[in-house]
Amino acid sequence: MMTFEYQVQPGDFTNAGFASSQVKKTLKQLNVDPAIIKRVVVALYEAEVNIVAHAHKGMIYVTVDNDKIAIKLEDEGPGIPDIDLAMTVGYSTASPHVREMGFGAGMGLPNIKNNVDYLNVKSEVGVGTTVELVVNF
């Protein structure tokens, strides 16, 4: 088992995707099927961009096992008042700046769900959000 931790800098779109990029390199070195790597890093990147876009502090914890990868993203931020609504395609609270970066179309959480084998989103308004996801190899 291997574990990794990454700090996410909210608001910093220059470095958004750094953790996803590192995880991709690691999974490639481990010879994981490229189709599975794509699912993992697309889901992780969407979640990482969510922290950059919405939170004011964020951490990513990655655990790689022989048969799966489990990722937990914890942020301190505004939280999600209605998770079902946030999972709806097209619903977005993103700022104009986030939209200028090519995101904020309300597709992030639904796309994460489509790429993972397990997804759990917990959130408390005014405190933060925790996203846990698992992709089986």
Partner: protein, 114 residues
Amino acid sequence: MTISEIQTLLNAEIICGEDKISQTVDRAFASDLMSDVLTLKSNQIMLITGLCNIQTIRTMEMADLNTVIFVRGKKVTEDMIDIARENDMIVLQTEYSMFRTAGVLWEAGIKPVF
């Protein structure tokens, strides 16, 4: 169609990946919305976009896309080129609009993703 032929058709500049101009492209996808690009199930397609920032390159990295053409004369920055080179990407830039770029490539036989 080779990258070299695409470069000629679109009067494009190759920003990086000069050593890969003999590689071929069969299909393309045009979008300024990276969220849409991240939903694509296929790999190895050329991205046509006017969204020119570092997250365009990051999105390509995650979506396993290795060729992009930036339209409307958008200027590629050094930090974008660094990540593109690190991932062996081919980056082109044309003054043509997205509509014209897509039209020229369509006429030349490049297929859509869906």
